[in-house]
């Protein structure tokens, strides 16, 4: 395989016909930086049907091309149609890299078309670096439960496929390029060949507390929490600060808080204005989840806890006592 024959970097824009999923925009902004280094074109790939004002948002991320696909089989998401779509498109256009937002559906089809194309697929990178010597993208991510960082590359095969969690990168549009080329493709997938059919969807109880993505203040609880009986004071603290509570993986594992509140590489990636972590040791797969927050503070009994290396302010002490003290100080104001 001649790697130089593969050019341009693709970002898949997942959408529901009304809005583009933010992860596509975040990826466009980040991959723009890579393309500036490599000279590749940044191509946003989507299935037709997104309103013009949303397309404008994509253009604003500095894309070079918009590849709009039409055809049968894309009305609802299906693994069969989307795996086929990217196989067909990649075979025709030979992109160097394909980035797919690590939503549940993104993670559903990206590894499959990568396998069909017989190429490498990475997931959940938190940093992307271009290595000019090898010509490969280095997908850097926490590994083994955050005990180490691993650099992953696709050294021989193309395209380099990567799924990236929503919230990993910032949506910081650099502005629309003067001439964004729009390409149209028609790829029909026979509806009768789609082997899965969506019968229904029941949204979770509209619990705003479970939506961390757009929260300004996050009070995050770690394994230091002695038990659920202590939750109310942290909920109160979060409420007084105008925010929400969240947790690390051990608390989800202990069944104390739901998965949707788990911050970190395998959970939700957030960038609040204020992050306060209580009883969190600070494995990198958690701290990667709030990197880039405004102000960050951590409370832990262990002065050696790695969390203190990831925050602006640290307090060595009993989390419950500090929480009580903060509540008292806030109420006294």
């Amino acid at each position: 395989m001649e790697k130089s024959a593969y050019k341009n970097m693709w970002v898949y824009i997942e959408h529901d016909g009304k809005r583009a999923h933010p992860v596509g925009l975040e990826l466009c902004c980040e991959v723009r930086k890579l393309c500036d280094v490599t000279g590749d074109k940044l191509v946003a790939v989507l299935v037709e049907g997104l309103p013009e004002e949303e397309l404008a948002k994509i253009r604003a991320c500095g894309i070079d091309q918009l590849l709009v696909v039409s055809g049968t089989g894309y009305e609802a998401y299906s693994n069969d149609a989307y795996s086929n779509l990217f196989t067909v498109l990649c075979r025709k256009y030979n992109p160097s890299a394909v980035f797919v937002g690590g939503t549940i559906n993104g993670r559903d089809f990206a590894p499959r078309f990568a396998a069909r194309l017989n190429t490498g697929c990475t997931s959940d990178a938190t940093e992307l670096v271009y290595n000019p010597e090898s010509g490969d993208i280095e997908f850097i991510e926490p590994a083994v439960g955050g005990k180490m960082m691993a650099v992953i590359t696709v050294p021989v095969l193309r395209p380099q496929v990567g799924t990236i969690r929503p919230g990993t990168f910032r949506y910081e549009p650099t502005g629309e390029k003067p001439a964004v080329e729009v390409l149209h493709e028609t790829v029909d997938f026979p509806v009768a060949d789609i082997r899965t059919k969506l019968l229904g969807f029941v949204p979770d109880d509209a619990d705003a507390d479970l939506d961390l993505a757009n929260t300004d203040v996050i009070v995050c609880l770690g394994n230091g929490l002695s038990g659920p009986d202590k939750l109310p004071k942290y909920r109160e603290l979060a409420a007084l600060l105008g925010g929400k509570i969240a947790c690390t993986r051990p608390l989800f594992d202990r069944g104390i808080l739901p998965f949707k509140l788990q911050i970190g590489q395998s959970g939700v990636m957030v960038k609040p204005k204020l992050y306060i972590g209580f009883g969190i040791s600070g494995a990198i797969n958690h701290t990667a989840g709030f990197a880039g927050s405004g102000l960050s503070i951590a409370v832990n009994t262990d002065p050696e806890a790695p969390i203190f290396g990831a925050v602006d302010y640290g307090i060595v002490g009993d989390m419950d006592e500090v929480c009580d003290a903060m509540l008292a100080a806030l109420k006294a104001r």
């Binding site: 990568a114 396998a115 899965t196 600060l241 640290g314």
Partner: protein
Amino acid sequence: MLNILVCVKQVPDVDLVKMDPVTGSLIREGVPAILNPLDGNAMEAAVRVKEQYGATITAITMGPPAAEAVLRECLSVGADRAVLITDRAFKDADTLATSYVVAKAAEEFGPYDLIFCGKETLDGATGQMGAQLAERFGSALVTSASRILEIDEAADTLVTEREMETGIETVQARIPCLFTIEKTNYQPRIPNFKGKKAARFAEIVTRTASTIPGLDPSRIGAVGSGTIVPRTYPPERGESGVMIDEGSAERNGAKIVEILAETGLI
């Protein structure tokens, strides 16, 4: 009767893995190797299907010889057959190569109506194996499946729930189908003594690179992998933040509130 494949992996209990502060390498010594937790949920889901509809379950894993321990776990709760794929030639395989080898080795006892995987592993956590195995088997795929509602063997269809970001999807899928299982509704059962005893010395089918028919050596191990890990390094511990120490929890808490007020956050 349904023919079921359950794909499992033995993983280190990553919570107990420590890093050598000097060499930066991982200390795996003394860390228990366990059945990947979500694979336990997948096995439980398969056993419940077996109990309700009748099935033959084959459990399969790829790993070092010691990985047979996780297969015995599967046997003890209801697997009928266990296949261990082990060979140094498979070392350093990524999901691309692993899915190829597992599917090839499983062919011998196939074709399968249903294939179960855990949603992701504790160590690699790529969550790619399910989708890539589905590709190898040419089956339908339902990832993040949280509950199997019904199986219609006559129509070769089934209905399952999928745990999505914002709610629960109900999905109908054609058989053959591969699921990646969420833990929500499938807490693994505790095996009974009868099952443990039977599993203890049960035969494990062992396959190596030379005993899997038709294996293409260019598609296995490091050579057959799409991705490599050229290097790893310890996570950098950033510069410590400013440590607040005002002498007591009360004063420290008050100090944080003061800082928040100064920065305009409250």
